[in-house]
């Protein structure tokens, strides 16, 4: 019989803060971290302030092989492990599921002379190697890279493994940073970035008819997934329950989502079915909500079809922290756990004229207790992933 899977550790780094409390305080104060970078004033970015990997690793000579995104992931993993209170024996047998994107930070021209093993900064499984080394993990490990659906799928794969009994404990997460000239150029050429002039905190507007693109953020997060029995036995504090996961492929174009959202819906319905619930049971949707014209139109169409009678509350966390690319799923999950614990649903920033009339896009912050969350992310390549997360009850 399949086992119940709970979250017993969670840590993240986001542009608005590294703890749920501080992010919620920023939201309540209507503060964002959006700014225009020196290297390209046309775009808007959301950087993580004051990050130092060694605060979490102590001395660590292999830090030189971690790109900025990888460093966020490694630091988040160490914090999540500490928070979950895992002992060395548990870590020895834990699984490690990591997400990574392409490191597009080539600096000012590629200079291989900087380091003999500079290739490690570009290999996707370098953060997994570092986490295993620092934490003493010797279980199985997989590194996934499925564009913006990466870490929602990482959590989903880890969840399935624990659910089916292959592991008692699995760490899942990753980090990413695209705040560099190489990434800005790539996304700008792809036409995906918000390049509207004006106040950087006002131009990004997911689900608004006047939306024009996304904001590059950075950060990372990790969760500790654990079989319920195992967690109860050791008296772990339980932050939430992962109830279902689904993934799918559009099998269409390489960048634009299928406009009907039919294949994204397949992923969402798989997650709902596994969780044993129907769409009407969902209280809150944490939408992918990038603010690009194509994603948001598709996502609104999909949500309208999923919830024809009563819309759940829909939030777009990227309107607060920007788009953390491959790390968005796990950081949004970590943040959702805090929102769920605090009964707080933040409004979608700068949403004036919603692109779909029948959906309950949250415009102003709400103090609203909720128990069942749908988290969805969709990536380039037609990668779709969805998670159902429930508030923990016996």
């Amino acid at each position: 019989m399949d086992r119940r899977v709970v979250i017993t550790g969670s840590a993240f780094f986001s542009p608005l803060g590294n703890r749920g409390r501080s992010v919620i305080a920023a939201m309540e104060g209507n503060r964002t971290a959006f700014t225009r970078p020196g290297f390209d004033p046309d775009v808007v970015v959301a950087p993580v302030p004051d990050f130092n990997l060694k605060t979490y690793t102590g001395r660590y000579k292999n830090a030189r092989y971690l790109n900025r995104g990888a460093a966020f992931g490694v630091a988040a993993a160490l914090r999540a492990i500490k928070g979950a209170g895992l002992c060395p024996k548990m870590l020895e047998n834990a699984g490690l599921f990591v997400g990574a994107g392409p490191n597009l930070d080539l600096g000012h021209g590629v200079n291989p002379g900087l380091s003999a093993l500079w290739i490690l900064k570009f290999l996707p499984n370098t953060p997994a190697s570092a986490i295993a080394d620092l934490a003493g993990i010797h279980g199985e490990s997989t590194t996934l890279s499925t564009a913006c659906a990466t870490t929602v799928q990482v959590v989903g794969e880890a969840f399935q493994k624990v659910r089916q009994g292959g592991l008692d404990i699995a760490l899942a997460g990753g980090g990413d940073s695209r705040i560099n000239p190489g990434a800005a150029l790539a996304y700008k050429m792809a036409g995906a970035l918000c390049t509207q002039p004006g106040d950087p905190s006002q131009v990004h507007r997911p689900f608004d008819q006047a939306r024009s693109g996304f904001v590059m953020g950075e950060g990372g997060g990790f969760v500790v997934l654990e079989a319920l029995d195992h967690a109860l036995k050791r008296g772990a504090s339980i932050l939430g329950e992962v109830a279902g996961f689904g993934a799918s492929m559009d099998g269409g174009t390489m960048t634009a989502p299928d406009p009907s959202g039919q294949w994204m819906e397949k992923a969402v319905r798989k997650a709902l079915t596994q969780a044993g619930i129907v769409p009407g049971d969902i209280d809150v949707v944490s939408a992918h909500g990038t603010g690009t014209p194509l994603n948001d139109q598709m996502e609104a169409t999909l949500l309208g079809r999923l919830f024809p009678d009563r819309s759940p509350q829909i939030m777009a966390l990227k309107s607060w922290i920007g788009h953390l690319s491959t790390a968005c799923g796990v950081v949004e999950l970590g943040l959702c756990l805090s929102l769920m614990a605090n009964g707080f649903v933040p409004g979608v920033r700068n949403l004036e004229t919603p692109c779909h009339p029948g959906l309950d896009f949250v415009r102003e912050h709400r103090n609203s207790a909720f128990n069942t969350l749908l988290l969805q992310n969709f990536g380039f390549g037609g990668q779709n992933g969805a998670l159902v997360v429930k508030k923990w009850t016996e």
Partner: protein, 121 residues
């Protein structure tokens, strides 16, 4: 800045250590926990810093044990063979190495400094 200080700066950077932890007599492997990938970085950094061609086998004494074993087999003084093959090693240091071999890898920070000094001569 003298050669030792420049070598030490490179080692502190690559090994994430403080200056006080590195002396001329620190053993790279035994004291500073240097691994093979660190040596790759050290070789590259030294070649850049001093504008020299660093030969990994020579600077890191990769063939020292074979060298000594061969010398003994041929009835040649191992110290003389070391000095002849690795000209940056002073005779006194070669003697220490032969005596010290049983306790582990003998490479010390001073050997890197001597190598750099020899190349820059």
């Amino acid at each position: 800045m003298d050669h030792f200080n420049r070598v030490r700066n490179i080692l502190t950077e690559i090994l994430d250590l403080d200056e006080q932890e590195i002396s001329q007599d620190s053993y790279l492997v035994r004291d500073l926990d240097v691994e093979s990938i660190d040596l790759l970085e050290v070789a590259l950094a030294l070649s850049t810093e001093f504008a020299i061609e660093v030969r990994d086998d020579e600077i890191f004494l990769r063939h020292l044990r074979t060298l000594i074993a061969d010398a003994k087999a041929e009835g040649v003084d191992p110290v003389a063979r070391i000095v002849e093959t690795l000209p940056h090693i002073p005779e006194k240091r070669a003697k220490e190495m032969v005596a010290d071999l049983g306790d582990g890898p003998v490479l010390k920070v001073r050997d890197l400094v001597d190598y750099v000094g020899h190349c820059c001569r």
